[in-house]
């Protein structure tokens, strides 16, 4: 059975993938559909959805087009989700690989270091980091990456520990491959599937984290993101509920889609486990 067929057997995953493509499409098409800045004040403030032609989703507290904000926001949210996850992987994978492969005191040291990050609540640490570094896209990406790499390191370490004494690893050692070669060429490719599944979920978490930060006013003041839209609309929720509702639904759908896709990937990459489960 092909990879995609295995993936598509999970109907939910297929559904998630469709939503995800729609959102990616929104992000890509944003500059074409709304070439003007989403910060531009274009109409009267507080227009409800569909009240005026061309303002499908209404306008916000300052008369900015909510639809434009939503589409440009998709770009910001996805970008932050993807980059911060990549950065987290770049930190977590090498650390976990080294700890799991070498073991001993190196493992101890690296795991204590990891636990240091794990003992601090994620969100609290992210707030502190962003507040200290001044809110900007870069500082937010860094903060999210810094709070989300420990699970990656733990996962990779566990995989390495279970794989490092397998026969094919022993064989590679016997033919004289160096440790680096063994880590990169032998073991790492075999740990990829759980990492990919974890990464897809991490993107979802990162989007949520960014939204929460923006909601608290710690977003990049120059980037229109969904979390910013909700944060700005929160105070007027009694006058204009749709201003928080619309971006809220967007976040919900994106995170749901990413979770469904993650589950589908899990099924597709671990067909054995999936068969047992179903």
């Amino acid at each position: 059975m092909s990879f995609f067929a295995r993936f598509a057997r999970n109907r939910g995953a297929l559904f998630g993938l469709i939503i995800l493509w729609v959102i990616i499409g929104m992000a890509i098409l944003a500059p074409i559909v709304f070439p003007e800045s989403p910060w531009r004040m274009v109409q009267r403030p507080f227009l409800p959805p569909f009240a005026v032609d061309g303002m499908w989703l209404g306008t916000d507290t300052m008369g900015r087009n909510v639809a434009a904000g939503l589409m440009h926001g998709a770009w910001v949210s996805l970008l932050i989700g993807l980059i911060s996850t990549s950065v987290a992987l770049l930190i977590g994978v090498p650390l976990g690989a080294i700890a799991g492969y070498y073991g001993g005191w190196l493992d101890d040291a690296l795991m204590r270091f990891t636990e240091f990050f794990q003992t601090i609540p994620n969100f609290a640490l992210a707030i502190v980091l962003v507040a200290v570094m001044q809110p900007s896209v870069t500082s937010i990406v860094l903060a999210i990456a810094l709070v989300s790499w420990p699970p990656v390191a733990r996962l990779v370490r566990a995989e390495f520990m279970s794989l490092r004494h397998r026969e094919y690893v022993e064989a590679a050692r016997l033919i004289g491959q160096t440790n680096t070669q063994i880590i990169l060429r032998q073991i790492l490719p075999n740990t990829l599937s759980p990492i990919i599944v974890l990464a897809s979920l991490m993107v979802a978490t990162a989007i949520l984290l960014e939204s929460s930060l923006s909601f608290l006013g710690l977003g990049d003041p120059n980037a229109m993101s969904w979390g910013y839209m909700i944060g700005a609309a929160r105070t007027v929720i009694r006058q204009a509920w749709w201003l928080s509702f619309i971006p809220g639904v967007a976040i919900l759908l994106t995170v749901l889609a990413l979770n469904l896709v993650g589950e589908g990937l899990d099924d597709a990459l671990n067909p054995k486990l999936a068969r047992e489960r179903h």
């Binding site: 910060w39 001044q134 990049d220 105070t235 007027v236 006058q239």
Partner: protein, 547 residues
Amino acid sequence: MNEPLPPSRSELPCGNETALPTAPGLRKLFGGLGLTILTALPISALAEETQEQPRRGGVIDTIIQPEPPGLVLGMIQNAPTRTVAGNIYEGLLRYTTDLEPIPQLAESWDVSEDGKVYTFHLRENVLWHDGEPFTAADAVFSADVFHRELNPSARAVLEHVESIEAPDDHTVVFTLKQPFGPFLLSFEAGTFTMVPKHIYEGTDFRNNDANNHPIGTGPFKFDSWDRGTVIKLTRNEDYYEEDLPYLDGVNWHIIPDGASRAVAYENGTVDVLPYGTVENFDVPRLSELDNTCSTEQGHEYFSPFAMLWMNNRHGPMTDKRFRQAVMYAMDREFARDVLWNGMGQVPLGAFGSNARFQNEDLTPYDYDPDRARELLDEMGYDGTEVTLLPVPYGETWTRWAEAVQQNLKEVGINVRTVATDVGGWNQRLAERDYDLAFTYLYQYGDPALGISRSYLSTNTAAGSPWNNVEGYANPKVDELFNAAATAHPDSEREALYHEVQEILQEDVPLGWLLELGFPTIYRCNVKNLVNSAVGVNEGFRDAWIDE
């Protein structure tokens, strides 16, 4: 100020002074050597509103936002301290909403003809909250020792003072080095607060135990302060105005969240929302509730003026054409109508509409993006990035920065907003580490008190976020402002101030955004609450609750 009030002036409604049962010291002395200026309280207006007889009793629940760092007025000058402690402490004078002085602890005053000697005649039956009598010695101590050490704004006024003396127990004489036009405007409770000499003399003021239990002469005594929850004031039974105050007490609730403050009013927990306690977009909704009144009066003394600092020291801001372009690019009407719910006024120039000596003939900077683009072309602006620092005081200010950023981008100015917290904002301004930055400043009624400080080149020293932060330096402007501060009489001051405004209008040292309108919202059965130029800061003295 040194002229007797023309009769028509006293007909103007000055708040609701009217409900005062005993109009204080209505001596009126005109002419001769000393002109005694006294507020005749508007007696004609009195008749209209006093059909309602003030009722004794009742406690008012209100809100203070944010929680003040302390309550010793004079030692601490920030807004929440002024608001609560203005009901505990008093100054020599109060001011009507037209900024005319009226008696408080001084029942009358004379000004010598050369404008250099001010003689205050104090009330004789005033007691401190601990029972000691208030005398001229307290007044001299407060002005000459306490405020000289602790209070920068009082110190600035004291620069002009040669000596402060008490010839007898109930007379204080201020002798100035040269005439100082706004002198009579400096005696508000928050500037020259009267503090008890017998408690503070010879002590370390800042670490005096009495700071935890403020002792003033005001209508309310400090009762208790449950940190983070409520500050309670109770009626001063020995207050010198018989019958006042009508209320038994005032409870200042501390509610950190804006939405919860609005709810507290809606569900009846509090009856008065002083200015700044609810977000602007809640104002129309709350104002429409049953039995709810609101007024924009009661901050004339402060007249908060929102400004955009433009760092004249570097980058494109060094070119006045760039600064003019910024003024043309900003849609200030939009900011007022949408962000401030129509409250406030778009300023003509450097002098607000409440300021004395405003030159009304200036050409306003109307919203004109095309003119802004022309100016930028003319100067050859190359797209250098400029940063914008918003005021971190809540949603309205954040939205405002977004609107200004967008306005500026639309004329081609490359702006990036830098978010920061209150500490970071103060620090960046103090260290001049910014390009464009929002702020708002109090006007204090007279250009020499509240306006010249932002433009004098002698006031540019780094370290303060409240002086000439933009770094504008123009010897002609310095000369005119300095001459106007000490000129006498007012007609001469006026001519000098009009000239300086023309120069400032051309040079645009900073952006003039909005004269802010801050409404006070209250239940309509709370009567006569906002009755002077500082509103609720001292309004509870005369307030009463109708059935």
